[in-house]
């Protein structure tokens, strides 16, 4: 038994999964302390546990699937994502936005799935014989998805799509000037589109942020200050703190953790993310094939960029963009997709290690 833990950690993807599990435990602790009975069927905590279990199973499954098989399935997955996005736009809006797809018992955000599909599609394009056409197709696919995201409207989602595309293109084996041009072009187009498609409420939110008059940011700062060095625990959060922080289960879940665990807790949580980023970066660097590198870079961006963006938003460094914190915020689709991306990263690590071992044996 004593040997089991080191062996699991030494296995491909072991450390990645361990770090993800630790971050997921932070999320579970945060939601367990929220208002309401956590162990009741249908509670936020119970549902979050369910999504984590589902995402964990998907991650383990994807880590066992060969990357080539995933890349073959990428076009179909992309088309399915487009169809889901179109269907969501055609459905009745919820709160004046079309982010949700309602199909019987299933309520999901198709844009999250589209990000994963885009990453895999970009990986498939890299290995295509007609690389130039494939890269053009990749850029077009990104632009199409961005347009659909802005039509929802979901500015944060569009930015995350652009970040995934830029990361993947930067990791592609194309010449340096081409990579720089493509990624720069995508980033520029995405930024311009996002800027010109800003709605009135988004402009107002930006103005409030620049004026330092953002009510949400002030409430979140108050929650962090109330947490202090060692935190005030879950009971205080449940009884008093939760009422102070807006959207404390989703976008501002980090403030909930800051109130409960204090500076020590949030620094520990930050350290876990830093370790996970380092581990994922190592996987990208050691990827054995170009397509594996592209997919791994895209998956890394899929997990890390929303985390960084959400942390900056909660800490008042950027305006509110409506991006939840992976593995901490409550939310089914984004939790499952994030864990799926980690599973793909683990699969890339496993294949790279196997290839390296084969090369070592051959030499």
């Amino acid at each position: 038994m004593k040997q089991l833990a080191p062996r699991l950690l030494a296995a491909p993807g072991g450390r990645l999964f361990a770090l993800a599990a630790a971050l997921a435990c932070v999320g579970l602790r945060t939601h367990y302390a929220g208002p309401g009975a956590p162990l009741q069927v249908g509670s936020y905590f119970a549902r979050h546990v369910g999504w984590l279990l589902l995402g964990g199973a998907l991650a383990v499954g994807l880590s066992r699937v060969r990357l080539a098989a995933l890349l073959r399935a990428a076009p179909a997955l992309f088309v399915a994502s487009l169809a889901a996005l179109g269907l969501a736009l055609a459905q009745r809006p919820v709160g004046a936005v079309h982010r949700w797809l309602h199909l019987a018992w299933l309520h999901a955000q198709p844009l999250e799935l589209a990000r994963l599909a885009l990453v895999l599609l970009l990986g498939a394009c890299v290995t295509h014989r007609r690389r130039a056409a494939a890269l053009g197709l990749a850029v077009s696919a990104t632009a199409l998805l961005c347009a659909l995201a802005l039509a929802q409207p979901h500015l944060g989602g569009a930015l995350l799509l652009v970040s995934c595309a830029v990361a993947a293109l930067l990791a592609s084996p194309s010449p340096g000037w081409l990579r720089a041009t493509l990624s720069g072009g995508v980033a520029l187009l995405g930024t311009l589109a996002a800027t010109f498609s800003l709605h009135g409420y988004q402009r107002a939110r930006l103005a409030r942020f620049l004026d330092g008059a953002d009510w949400q940011a002030r409430q979140v700062a108050l929650a962090f200050a109330a947490g202090g060095l060692g935190g005030r625990g879950g009971a205080a959060w449940s009884s008093r703190g939760a009422a102070w922080v807006p959207e404390h289960r989703t976008d501002y879940a980090l403030a909930a953790w800051g109130f409960q665990a204090g500076l020590l807790g949030t620094l520990a949580w930050l350290a876990l993310w830093a370790l996970l980023a380092r581990e994922a970066g190592t996987i990208v660097r050691r990827a054995s094939t170009p397509e594996a590198r592209v997919v791994a870079a895209g998956a890394l961006a899929l997990v890390l960029v929303p985390a960084a963006l959400n942390a900056c938003m909660v800490l008042g460094l950027v305006p509110a963009v409506g991006v939840p914190m992976p593995l901490l915020s409550f939310g089914g689709t984004q939790t499952v997709v994030c864990l799926g991306a980690l599973g793909i990263l683990a699969g890339v690590q496993r294949e790279s290690a196997a290839l390296e071992a084969a090369r070592a044996r051959a030499s």
Binding site: A221, L222, A225, G258, L267, L270, W273
Partner: protein, 574 residues
Amino acid sequence: MLAPPAAPSPLTALGFGLSALLAGRLAQLHLRPARAFAWERQQLRVESLSPERGPIVDREGRRLAWSVPSVDLAVRSSVLRRDPSLRGALLRALRLDAAQAALFEARCERAARASRDRPHVLWTDLSETQREALAREVSPRGVYSLPGSTARRYAAGARHTSALGFATPCRECSGSAGAAPDSRALLARSGLEIERDALLAGSWGERVVEVSPTGAVLGERSRREAAPGATLRTSLDLAVMERVEQTLDAAHLEEGAAVVVDLETHGLLAVSTRPWLSPERYARGFTESQWRAVLEDPSRPLQDRAFRDARHPGRALAPFVLLATGAENLPATVSCDGAFELGARIFRCGHAHGSLDLASSLAQGCNARLYDAAARAGEERLAAGLARWGFGEATGLSPSEASGALRPRGAGHRRPGHALNLALGHGVVTATPVQLAAAWAGLSHRMPTRTFLVPDPEELPCPRAAPPDLDAALLETIVSALERTPAALRFDPSWHAAALQGVGESPWYPLASLERLRTEYGWGVSFASQGGRGYAVVVRVDQGRDTANRATDLARAIYANLFAHAGTSLENAP
């Protein structure tokens, strides 16, 4: 030999930089004292605690008006806009009549157009049946039943609010000391409710609560309870009021008024005015068209005929005219040949009654006696004498009552004929049914008395309004003559009754509906006693023909109902 350390890649440097930035920002936020945030101090809210409005009870302690907690129906604007079928479902569940349904539709329309997506109150004071139907038939998200409001209930379906006035839920007014609007508060609108508001309303309480930025109450810092309003005891009698209403209902009186005064205490026992507009309609509200229809209704339902509608009393004023002229102006006999000449003008009498003494002329309704007395006394003396019996002055029973008119003309405009008109209860004098009832109650007591609605514990049961420096012999003669008038003779012989009836014509309403011009109204004024119980009853009939006789018949029916059930409780009455 050690290899030199590899330079970090740009992405690694970016990662380190971002981590350092986030860690620094976290430290900055966490280590800042919470009290440094100025807005934390603003999270205390002062809430007003509305007191329970005190009940109004009758002289036996039965409730006439009381407050009850109620439940309102509220729906979000977005829900109304999204689901067009919701209005129909709500209407079916509420089971409203046509007028209420129109009001409900108007509110739905206004709520659906509202820019703010918040719960809009569509219907107030839901009954138990309505609540059950709503829960059973309509349960979409965004439809709320809001408890916490207060409704005012009135005995007998608010038929007696002429005397009581009424109070409605206060939805847009402020509480005491500029507190926030409170749907639990009741706003007094008229009558006793507004006159004795300070007593009934009680005093507001206050609590200081700590609230979250979203308005949720987190805790209570301090609390001062509200003091409920006191109970207001009145001279009214619910049983008498019910019997008066029964009698008027049986006679199908649609326009008119009736007032009953207790001869023992001179307290006001019952007041009825028809048509009447239920105060529940004020509580619910009106659509624009409904309110216009109320204003344009020719029967004028907004007019309180008992307290506010002063009209010429006609011959109902005769005993007070004769008392005002004094015995020296009343010769033993006056000859009536059907007309009375005053200078060049001729004033008519109904018949040529011949030579009549005072009692006979009063009993036979001879105008010549009144003309003669008025011509001798003059308008000024008549007006002064009538004022002693309370004419031209509000009785003080209701804050919104009319004082009637008693305006002798100035010396430059005075003509002898004016006094003769006044003697017949026309010209410069008008009176409300309540004023006449008070005066006739005083007549039964042989002196002017003050009728009351709220007993004053420090005063005598029968308070005087003026010193009794009256000609007692003359008064006795007049009262005994009133007991032999044709109106009094229509009453039951076993009653000790005095009665008179008068006729007037409604004033000229050039802008009102033309068919109502110069219509007749009749008075039946009387007092009667039997078996130790006595009442003064004044009835005015404002519709139809032969109004004076109908008014006397109604007064007789009211006496019969009251005497027949004397000492019987309302529940045991047949």
